[in-house]
């Protein structure tokens, strides 16, 4: 091959960068492929829960970690995804596989005007407003009972068509974690891209400001809304998968409590690292299952109390000692070691 062709190829490679697949994501892929040998439906359903929350959390990594906007209202888009997907299947009989992208698009479409309206605001107020939007969404879902089934919700939502040689739970488990890895690769690449750098420059929580990028010709509003829509699409997909996974949805799943908890997961794991969403989700879901099932048996007391205390204690301790989240622990340890050597 002539050197000229080689050079041209190199240049082409530089112009269209290959998507980077982090090695850890590949390791995760292998682990997941080997995992469900247990075939315990309970364990698998917990792992599915972790995966779904990680996907919503990954959206918050875009929004909070990159664009610096705090949302306590992802339940709106999680719920929109679930209800749109379920209704498309129940009313029009379309396949869940087709309903899922449509539901994700619906979440994104809903997010665009909301984002335009609320992201003009500055600072922590945005978080308060997203909370209010979530509250309105919850009341609406309960009220529009002809469509949504009101407080009891929807049932008999069809399942995904799946290969019959494995159980449905096993299938959903694979699907969810493939989705997690896909989102992980997508988010990791986005962080390193031109868009990612632009988002970082508007991040008022990190190094960014809102004025500097404006001067450089970056449309701050545009990028903030784009991050908000992206986060909503992630949550919408998670909602759709959730609906077809458990076949029954009710409004409480998409309430303010869920939204706050998802935000806490991401803060715990670390908002600037896509792995933070997975770590935080695993920690909170794991704690919840452990404390809900085990603690009341050993210690007595009402179900649900220990996990609330645990959320609080874990959140406060993490923010005080590892303000950048649990994912910053390895870096912190290295820093500490280096400090000792000196």
């Amino acid at each position: 091959m002539s050197p000229i062709v080689d050079k041209a190829k190199q240049r082409a490679a530089r112009l269209v960068p290959m998507p980077r697949v982090p090695r850890a994501a590949l390791i995760l892929l292998v682990v997941i492929a080997l995992l469900p040998v247990t075939d315990s439906a309970y364990l698998l359903s917990i792992l599915i829960k972790i995966g779904l929350h990680a996907v919503i959390g990954m959206g918050l990594i875009l929004l909070t970690g990159l664009a610096g906007q705090v949302s306590l209202g992802q339940g709106v888009f999680y719920g929109t995804g679930a209800y749109v997907s379920a209704l498309l299947c129940l009313r029009f009989g379309i396949s869940p596989w087709l309903a899922m992208p449509l539901a994700a698009a619906a979440s994104g479409l809903l997010a665009a005007p909301i984002g335009r309206a609320i992201l003009r605001l500055k600072g922590i107020i945005v978080a308060g407003v997203t909370l209010t939007v979530n509250l309105i969404f919850f009341y609406l879902v309960v009220s529009v009972s002809d469509l949504t089934g009101g407080a009891t919700g929807l049932s008999q939502i069809p399942r995904f068509e799946y290969p019959k040689f494995m159980s449905y739970t096993t299938f959903v488990f694979y699907a969810v974690w493939l989705l997690v890895i896909l989102c992980l690769v997508l988010t990791t690449n986005l962080v390193a891209s031109r868009v990612g750098r632009a988002l970082k420059s508007v991040n008022v929580l990190g190094i960014g400001t809102e004025d500097t990028p404006q001067v450089l010709g970056i449309d701050v509003m545009h990028f903030k809304v784009a991050a908000y829509v992206g986060a909503a699409v992630f949550a919408g997909i998670a909602g759709s998968v959730y609906a077809h996974h458990i076949s029954v949805i009710e409004p409480h799943t998409f309430s303010v409590q869920t939204s706050v908890l998802v935000a806490i997961m991401v803060v715990l794991g670390g908002v600037t690292n896509p792995w933070g969403a997975i770590v935080g989700s695993a920690l909170i879901v794991g704690l919840t299952e452990l404390l809900r099932e085990v603690a009341p048996i050993i210690l007595g007391g009402p179900t649900g109390s220990y996990e609330l205390v645990a959320y609080g204690v874990v959140l406060v301790l993490t923010l005080l000692f590892l303000p950048d989240g649990l994912c910053s622990l390895p870096a912190r340890i290295q820093e500490w070691k280096r400090g000792r050597r000196l």
Binding site: V70, A117, I118, R120, L121, G123, I124, I125, A127, G128, V129, L131, T132, V133, L135, I136, Y139, L140, V142, S143, S145, L205, V256, Q257, V260, A263, I264, V267, G301, P302, G304, S305, Y306, E307, L308, V309, A310, Y311, G312, V313, V314, L315, V316, L319, L320, P323
Partner: protein, 291 residues
Amino acid sequence: MEASTVLQSLISGLTLGCIYAALGLGLFVVYGVTRVLNLAQGEFVMLGGMLTVSFCSMGVPLLGAIVLAVIVTIISGAALYLLVIRPAKNASGSTLAFLTVGFAYAIEGTTLLVWGWEYHSLTNFLGSSSIHLWGATIFGQAPWVVGMTVLMVVGLFFFFGRTMVGKALRACADEPLGARSVGISIEKMALLSFMLAAGLGAVAGATITPLTMTAYNVGMPLTIKGLLAAFLGGIHRAEGVILGGLLVGLAEALSAGLMPTGYHDAIALGILLVVFLSRPQGLLPARSGAG
């Protein structure tokens, strides 16, 4: 639409508004002095109510029970500042807000552990009779709720306007560096603001319990309403917070009385959100210069 319905809605709106104004004032005191958005303010209200119920059931007379509840809640407010907020030096606003969420969860869980999930109520402060007025009903406890908020407002204006400590708190809010240079301890003032907010919350909690009942999980919804009130009116000024609280309460009650059932909650919140988004600095924005 009957006149009595409107009157009834106005009366309940005023009562609700006073509750939300009281919550907003707690948020205002902490935010003003420390710039921390205290998402655990509702938990102080819940604690005030639960502790009063508890002390009453132990046989403590009502007034004594309230005083004890306020003291315990103030201690929890001090704990929030000393154990959670103060150690997080140089944390961003959202980190501080999440820290208060963590504290709120811990309080909620502990309450559930100690008292269980049941709703608790108190008897009205003076008798149980309701007043009937042109077809509308005023619950016996409602005047107490309104009175409590008025007293709180008068007390706060006196405290901030006339006393040395109150003026020091205001100095911290306006110009922390200047306050420090004239010898005001910012940390002491921050601690005081959290204790003050907790105390205000506890009094509100004890007063509203006969009307609204209380349980371990009422805190978070109250916090959200308080936030709405504070932001709507303008969190930088007490007058703004009070106005915001009354508007939220009236919007909720009028909507419940006049709008189609089922949709009223969403409609009320939607209207309030639109009003807020059209005036994001609050209906009564901070005065230029001093806050």
